[in-house]
Amino acid sequence: MMPPANNPQNRIDEYLLELQSALGGLPEEQIIDILQEIRTHLCDSVTSNGQITDASVTAALQRMGKPTQIAAMYLTSSIIQRATTTRSPWLVLHGTFRWAALSAAGIVALISSLIGYTLAAIFTYCALAKAFRPERVGLWRYSDPDLTYSLHLGLVAPPLGTEVLGWYIVPIGLVLGIGLFLLTTQLALWTMRKFFRTRTDLALSVV
């Protein structure tokens, strides 16, 4: 026989299922841990007045708050935590991307991170490409009265002008590329920890 749809245990299960799907993206282990903890809380909470009624279940679930809000707080903390420990640019961008979905400050952080990583990649590429195509990679000064500089690389024939860096482009490119990469990561993590987390905690934790 099917239990009635509003059976208390069923309603708790439904709530937990909703929470589970909202937590998608977290490590499996952590999801199981969270669900166990919230289940225990709900079971304690609905029985605290001695008996379980429909109304007591409703009240317990309401006190708990929306599953999507709880999940959002977990995800935010977890993304920042993982980005901080791994320092992977992918996770850093993932974090700023989520932040960008919430506020203008996040959009600025996302764009800055993208620019930072792109420039870092270009500088590093210059340094490495010099080894394979020495004649095509370099910093050229045009014999133009305006003294225009051009960082020229890739598969286009070198323009008229004087190459100014020579092989120094390798160490300079590497230092700039790696430096900018580390700086972008640090800066993004710092702003996320400082502003993003406080903001989401603030929006969700107190009514």
Binding site: Q36, T40, C43, Q69, I70, M73, Y74
Partner: protein, 127 residues
């Protein structure tokens, strides 16, 4: 001068916002302080908050906060089998957590004492 309905609404909303900021700011301190005397599980922490302070939060939000405090190394957690019912996750302050809450508590006392001083004339006349 009478305030228009909109002005009144803004005044009240502004107030609410300020109160939210204030409560939020003290929530972390309150949770850490609740753990000072020993290990507790989530629901016990919430009961302490409700009894000992005016901090009413959606209960579910205390868990992500605890998870973050754990990530920051301020609390530790362990699952303990209950005699009856479900296993419970207990939280304790770490050494870093104790240092942090001690610092927060002394800062809070100092700050509120100074603020009280500033507020004294208002309280006198406001009544």
């Amino acid at each position: 001068m009478a305030l228009t309905a909109t002005q009144q609404k803004i005044a009240v909303d502004g107030n609410d916002k300020w109160e939210i900021q204030l409560r939020k700011g003290s929530l972390e301190l309150a949770v850490l302080a609740a753990l000072w005397t020993g290990r507790l599980y989530g629901l016990e922490i919430l009961r302490r908050l409700a009894d000992g302070s005016d901090l009413i939060v959606p209960e579910g939000t205390v868990y992500p906060l605890l998870a973050r405090l754990k990530d920051d190394g301020l609390v530790d957690s362990e699952w303990v089998e209950a005699e009856a019912g479900h296993p419970r996750k207990y939280y304790t302050l770490t050494r870093t957590g104790r240092r942090r809450v001690t610092h927060m508590a002394s800062y809070w006392s100092e700050f509120s004492a100074k603020l009280d001083h500033l507020l004294a004339p208002i309280e006198k006349e406001g009544r």
